[in-house]
């Protein structure tokens, strides 16, 4: 994706980089609307992430850290930048790549090739975990059973657990993911659209799960997706960032897609909107009269859960019993975040289901 260093006479001939005042600008930063050159962009991009890491105390020296790596743009840039900063600023971290194979032919198998290349390129050990091994079902199997709706619900729930299991296997202290500012802004909107107060209160935290087995953090929380995409395409050195970029074939019907379109339109009009939505999300306070779900553990597998069974167990049970709709569907109501409990059919004790719309990628 390299473009030649061609004509410069019409671009920025009368303007110079805002930061160094020497070179011609190549990018207008959405965050600040500054026009900056390539070299200043790299510096400022990397330095800002370093500051986010330091100011939010994301890591401690000596920690084993797994990078959730899908082979896509965010996780590839994350792996590269994190290993660079680890070196440059001596964070003292032991970094690993952790990949989840959901079993989506033509999508995940290709992107995993990218992660395997990253393993060699950055010298970071890679662990791959598959849904097949963990749950006995690939996404291809699941979609064959449930059709093209609600796929993302299954996948998102399973992937989150899979990452935690993988992290436990690798005996790491922390997980990092490449969620960027756009993603988090989308999630805030999604949670508002669904009245999911519990998630709304958590989704802007830069570190989550500190009281659980594996805390996870998002160093790209304030990094714009546009800059993450531009970063590798301007990089001219031989370790050119190589990432995989296609939309998951099962995702077109995901609800998140609507929030994403909206955010992109907003960004066009007022780029700061993305960071401002995150700020609003950070400053929300839940009314003390609102009833919030309590966090316990799943009776079946011990994973963190606010219901008797965790979502993954409910979904898996549904799949195994040929009841693919179990765990899906609406039963949500109440302005204060109360959810109506819906008990499903036969066998064993009455189980309450927390149901939600399709297309969730919960945080």
């Amino acid at each position: 994706m390299e473009a030649s260093e061609g004509k410069s006479k019409k671009q920025g001939a009368s303007r110079l980089c805002c930061l160094c005042n020497q070179r011609r600008p190549v990018l207008k930063r959405p965050k600040t609307l500054q026009q900056i050159c390539k070299e200043c962009f790299y510096e400022v991009f990397e330095e800002e992430i370093h500051q986010v890491i330091v100011k939010n105390h994301l890591f401690k020296s000596g920690e084993r850290v797994a990078i959730g790596a899908s082979g896509g743009k965010d996780s590839t840039v994350l792996a590269y930048v994190l290993s660079e900063l680890n070196r440059r600023h001596s964070y003292g971290l032991d970094l690993f790549l952790l990949s989840i194979d959901e079993g989506i032919t033509g999508y995940r198998d290709d992107s995993l090739e990218t992660v395997k290349r990253n393993e060699l390129q950055y010298g970071l050990p890679l662990q791959i975990l598959s849904y097949k091994d963990l749950y006995g079902w690939t996404m291809d199997d699941i979609v064959k059973m449930i059709g093209l709706k609600n796929n993302c619900t299954f996948c998102g729930v399973f992937r989150r657990q899979a990452l935690d299991r993988g992290a436990a296997l690798l005996k790491v202290d922390k997980l990092v993911t490449g969620h960027n500012a756009d993603d988090i802004a989308e999630t805030v909107l999604l949670n508002i659209l669904r009245g999911d107060i519990a998630r709304l209160s958590r989704c802007t935290s830069i570190t989550t799960g500190e009281d659980g087995p594996i805390p996870r953090c998002k160093p790209f929380k304030y990094t714009y997706e546009k800059e993450i995409v531009i970063y590798p395409s301007l990089l001219n050195h031989f370790l050119k960032l190589d990432y995989f970029s296609t939309e998951c074939i099962y995702s077109p019907n995901a609800y998140r897609g609507f929030a994403r379109e909206f955010i992109k339109d907003l960004e066009r009009l007022r780029p700061r909107a993305i960071l401002d939505i995150i700020k609003s999300g950070e400053d929300f306070r839940i009314a003390t009269t609102t009833k919030m779900p309590e966090q316990g553990t799943c009776e079946r597998c011990g994973y963190i859960s606010s219901q008797k069974w965790c979502k993954a167990c409910v979904l898996l049970d549904g799949l195994n019993r040929g009841l693919p709709k179990m765990g899906i569907g609406r039963a949500r109501g109440g302005v204060n975040g109360d959810h109506q409990k819906e008990t499903k059919k036969p066998a064993s004790a009455a189980r309450s289901l927390e149901s939600k719309q399709c297309g969730s990628l919960d945080f």
């Binding site: 994706m1 473009a3 030649s4 260093e5 061609g6 004509k7 410069s8 019409k10 671009q11 920025g12 303007r15 011609r24 600008p25 190549v26 990018l27 207008k28 026009q35 390539k38 899908s70 896509g72 743009k73 965010d74 996780s75 490449g178 969620h179 960027n180 756009d182 993603d183 997706e225 546009k226 993450i228 995409v229 531009i230 395409s233 301007l234 970029s245 296609t246 939309e247 998951c248 995702s251 994403r260 379109e261 992109k264 339109d265 960004e267 066009r268």
Partner: protein, 99 residues
């Protein structure tokens, strides 16, 4: 004029999975200069083979598609008003995919 068009971030799938296209674009009649606006229209007709709504929305690119003209963000050169010259390299990258 001879131009090099590059498609990334999944957009190549709209053009027969070809990432790089070397094309010859003729100026519309009576026009002295080619703008990005003209080029987009040309690309939509001549290069995009399917699902044009993933690339174009109205007059301009779909939100979430980055445009670089000779390695430079088109926001700096006037977006649709950017003038295109012979041998220019234009890169379109979609950001709308998983990370």
């Amino acid at each position: 004029m001879q131009l090099t068009l590059e498609f990334g971030g999944g957009l190549e799938l709209l053009c027969d999975s070809e990432k790089i296209h070397k094309v010859n674009v003729d100026l519309p009649n009576g026009v002295q200069e080619l703008t990005m606006k003209d080029l987009l229209s040309w690309v939509r007709t001549n290069v995009i083979k399917e699902r044009p709504e993933m690339f174009i929305k109205g007059d301009t690119v779909r939100p979430g598609v980055l445009v670089l003209v000779n390695d430079c963000d088109w926001e700096l050169s006037g977006q649709l008003e950017t003038t295109i010259e012979d041998k220019d390299v234009i890169v379109f990258i979609s950001t709308l995919h998983g990370g």
